[in-house]
Protein backbone atom coordinates (compact mmCIF):
# COMPACT_ATOMS: atom_id res chain seq x y z
CA UNK A 1 0.00 0.00 0.00
CA UNK A 2 2.91 2.29 0.74
CA UNK A 3 4.35 1.49 -2.69
CA UNK A 4 0.99 2.18 -4.35
CA UNK A 5 0.70 5.51 -2.56
CA UNK A 6 4.30 6.44 -3.44
CA UNK A 7 3.75 5.52 -7.10
CA UNK A 8 0.51 7.50 -7.43
CA UNK A 9 1.84 10.58 -5.65
CA UNK A 10 5.09 10.55 -7.61
CA UNK A 11 3.20 10.25 -10.92
CA UNK A 12 1.22 13.40 -10.14
CA UNK A 13 4.11 15.35 -8.63
CA UNK A 14 6.47 14.26 -11.41
CA UNK A 15 3.97 15.21 -14.13
CA UNK A 16 3.61 18.76 -12.90
CA UNK A 17 7.01 19.33 -11.37
CA UNK A 18 9.52 20.16 -14.09
CA UNK A 19 9.74 21.56 -17.61
CA UNK A 20 11.21 18.81 -19.80
CA UNK A 21 10.04 15.18 -20.02
CA UNK A 22 13.45 13.91 -18.93
CA UNK A 23 13.44 16.15 -15.85
CA UNK A 24 9.88 15.02 -15.04
CA UNK A 25 10.92 11.36 -15.16
CA UNK A 26 13.91 12.02 -12.95
CA UNK A 27 11.89 14.11 -10.51
CA UNK A 28 9.12 11.48 -10.35
CA UNK A 29 11.64 8.71 -9.68
CA UNK A 30 13.34 10.83 -7.04
CA UNK A 31 10.04 11.56 -5.28
CA UNK A 32 9.11 7.85 -5.44
CA UNK A 33 12.46 6.83 -3.94
CA UNK A 34 12.14 9.45 -1.21
CA UNK A 35 8.64 8.32 -0.26
CA UNK A 36 9.78 4.69 -0.11
CA UNK A 37 12.95 5.44 1.83
CA UNK A 38 11.28 7.72 4.36
CA UNK A 39 8.39 5.27 4.77
CA UNK A 40 10.73 2.36 5.44
CA UNK A 41 12.89 4.37 7.86
CA UNK A 42 9.85 5.66 9.77
CA UNK A 43 8.37 2.15 9.81
CA UNK A 44 11.49 0.68 11.39
CA UNK A 45 11.74 3.53 13.91
CA UNK A 46 8.13 3.07 14.94
CA UNK A 47 8.65 -0.73 15.11
CA UNK A 48 11.03 -0.22 18.03
CA UNK A 49 8.91 2.42 19.75
CA UNK A 50 6.76 0.73 22.39
Amino acid sequence: MMTLFAALASVVLGSMGKDTPRDRWLYGLKVFAEFMLIGLVLGWILYFVP
Binding site: M1, F5, L8, A9, V12
Partner: protein, 144 residues
Protein backbone atom coordinates in the same frame (compact mmCIF):
# COMPACT_ATOMS: atom_id res chain seq x y z
CA UNK B 1 0.19 52.60 -4.27
CA UNK B 2 3.91 53.27 -4.69
CA UNK B 3 5.43 53.45 -8.14
CA UNK B 4 7.02 49.96 -8.10
CA UNK B 5 3.74 48.37 -6.99
CA UNK B 6 1.87 50.22 -9.72
CA UNK B 7 4.37 49.05 -12.35
CA UNK B 8 4.10 45.48 -11.05
CA UNK B 9 0.31 45.62 -11.15
CA UNK B 10 0.46 46.71 -14.79
CA UNK B 11 2.73 43.75 -15.64
CA UNK B 12 0.31 41.12 -14.29
CA UNK B 13 -2.06 39.98 -16.99
CA UNK B 14 -5.61 39.15 -15.93
CA UNK B 15 -6.50 35.48 -15.77
CA UNK B 16 -8.69 34.50 -18.75
CA UNK B 17 -12.18 33.27 -17.95
CA UNK B 18 -11.53 30.01 -19.78
CA UNK B 19 -8.85 29.15 -17.22
CA UNK B 20 -11.46 29.20 -14.44
CA UNK B 21 -13.72 26.94 -16.51
CA UNK B 22 -10.85 24.55 -17.20
CA UNK B 23 -10.04 24.56 -13.47
CA UNK B 24 -13.65 23.79 -12.59
CA UNK B 25 -13.79 20.99 -15.17
CA UNK B 26 -10.51 19.57 -13.86
CA UNK B 27 -11.93 19.51 -10.34
CA UNK B 28 -15.28 18.04 -11.35
CA UNK B 29 -13.92 15.21 -13.52
CA UNK B 30 -10.32 14.22 -12.76
CA UNK B 31 -8.25 14.51 -15.96
CA UNK B 32 -10.85 16.48 -17.92
CA UNK B 33 -8.99 19.78 -17.54
CA UNK B 34 -5.89 18.42 -19.28
CA UNK B 35 -8.05 16.67 -21.88
CA UNK B 36 -9.66 20.00 -22.77
CA UNK B 37 -6.18 21.49 -23.06
CA UNK B 38 -5.19 18.58 -25.34
CA UNK B 39 -2.47 17.47 -22.92
CA UNK B 40 -3.24 13.80 -23.47
CA UNK B 41 -0.26 12.37 -21.63
CA UNK B 42 -0.80 14.41 -18.50
CA UNK B 43 -4.55 13.79 -18.62
CA UNK B 44 -4.06 10.02 -18.70
CA UNK B 45 -1.28 9.95 -16.11
CA UNK B 46 -2.70 12.38 -13.59
CA UNK B 47 -6.34 11.43 -14.09
CA UNK B 48 -5.68 7.73 -13.77
CA UNK B 49 -3.58 8.32 -10.64
CA UNK B 50 -6.58 10.01 -9.03
CA UNK B 51 -9.02 7.28 -10.15
CA UNK B 52 -6.72 4.45 -9.03
CA UNK B 53 -6.22 6.12 -5.65
CA UNK B 54 -9.95 6.67 -5.22
CA UNK B 55 -11.07 3.18 -6.22
CA UNK B 56 -8.25 1.58 -4.22
CA UNK B 57 -9.51 3.51 -1.20
CA UNK B 58 -13.06 2.35 -1.83
CA UNK B 59 -11.91 -1.26 -2.30
CA UNK B 60 -10.10 -1.07 1.03
CA UNK B 61 -13.37 -0.14 2.70
CA UNK B 62 -12.52 3.51 3.20
CA UNK B 63 -14.95 6.01 4.66
CA UNK B 64 -15.76 9.42 3.24
CA UNK B 65 -16.68 12.43 5.29
CA UNK B 66 -19.58 14.86 5.15
CA UNK B 67 -20.98 17.33 7.65
CA UNK B 68 -22.89 14.68 9.62
CA UNK B 69 -20.69 13.88 12.62
CA UNK B 70 -20.55 10.36 13.98
CA UNK B 71 -21.92 9.98 17.54
CA UNK B 72 -19.62 11.54 20.11
CA UNK B 73 -17.72 13.55 17.51
CA UNK B 74 -17.84 17.19 16.46
CA UNK B 75 -18.64 18.55 13.03
CA UNK B 76 -15.36 20.50 13.19
CA UNK B 77 -13.41 17.24 12.97
CA UNK B 78 -15.34 16.33 9.83
CA UNK B 79 -14.42 19.46 7.87
CA UNK B 80 -10.67 18.92 7.13
CA UNK B 81 -11.06 15.36 5.77
CA UNK B 82 -14.23 16.41 3.96
CA UNK B 83 -12.27 19.13 2.13
CA UNK B 84 -9.80 16.42 1.07
CA UNK B 85 -12.61 14.11 -0.06
CA UNK B 86 -14.33 16.92 -1.95
CA UNK B 87 -11.29 17.19 -4.21
CA UNK B 88 -12.48 14.17 -6.17
CA UNK B 89 -15.37 16.26 -7.53
CA UNK B 90 -18.03 14.21 -9.27
CA UNK B 91 -16.81 10.97 -7.67
CA UNK B 92 -17.54 12.40 -4.22
CA UNK B 93 -20.90 13.83 -5.28
CA UNK B 94 -22.03 10.55 -6.90
CA UNK B 95 -21.01 8.56 -3.81
CA UNK B 96 -22.78 11.10 -1.60
CA UNK B 97 -25.97 10.90 -3.66
CA UNK B 98 -25.85 7.09 -3.67
CA UNK B 99 -24.85 6.91 -0.01
CA UNK B 100 -21.82 4.79 -0.86
CA UNK B 101 -18.86 5.09 1.50
CA UNK B 102 -20.57 7.40 3.98
CA UNK B 103 -22.16 4.84 6.30
CA UNK B 104 -20.74 4.21 9.75
CA UNK B 105 -20.74 0.45 9.39
CA UNK B 106 -18.97 -1.37 12.29
CA UNK B 107 -18.10 -4.33 10.04
CA UNK B 108 -16.48 -2.02 7.52
CA UNK B 109 -14.61 -0.17 10.27
CA UNK B 110 -13.28 -3.48 11.61
CA UNK B 111 -11.51 -4.28 8.34
CA UNK B 112 -7.72 -4.22 8.52
CA UNK B 113 -7.56 -1.88 5.53
CA UNK B 114 -10.24 0.56 6.73
CA UNK B 115 -7.82 3.27 7.88
CA UNK B 116 -5.65 2.91 4.77
CA UNK B 117 -8.83 3.19 2.71
CA UNK B 118 -10.00 6.51 4.08
CA UNK B 119 -6.49 7.96 3.79
CA UNK B 120 -6.37 6.85 0.14
CA UNK B 121 -9.72 8.57 -0.46
CA UNK B 122 -8.41 11.81 1.03
CA UNK B 123 -5.15 11.51 -0.94
CA UNK B 124 -7.16 11.03 -4.16
CA UNK B 125 -8.88 14.36 -3.52
CA UNK B 126 -5.62 16.13 -2.70
CA UNK B 127 -3.96 14.75 -5.85
CA UNK B 128 -6.88 16.04 -7.88
CA UNK B 129 -6.47 19.50 -6.35
CA UNK B 130 -2.86 19.44 -7.64
CA UNK B 131 -4.09 18.26 -11.05
CA UNK B 132 -6.67 21.05 -11.07
CA UNK B 133 -4.06 23.70 -10.23
CA UNK B 134 -1.76 22.38 -12.97
CA UNK B 135 -4.56 22.55 -15.56
CA UNK B 136 -5.49 26.05 -14.36
CA UNK B 137 -1.88 27.27 -14.66
CA UNK B 138 -1.54 25.86 -18.18
CA UNK B 139 -4.86 27.42 -19.23
CA UNK B 140 -3.83 30.77 -17.74
CA UNK B 141 -0.56 30.68 -19.67
CA UNK B 142 1.61 30.57 -16.57
CA UNK B 143 3.04 27.19 -17.43
CA UNK B 144 3.83 25.25 -20.59
Amino acid sequence: MVKTERLHAQDVEPTPGSAWLIGAAAWFVPGLGHLLLKRWGRAILMGSAVYVCFFAGMAMGGHMFDLNPSPGSSVLFQIPPMIGNLGTGALYIICWLLGVGFNDDPEQAARATYEYGYIFLIIAGLLNYLTMLDAFDIAAGRKS
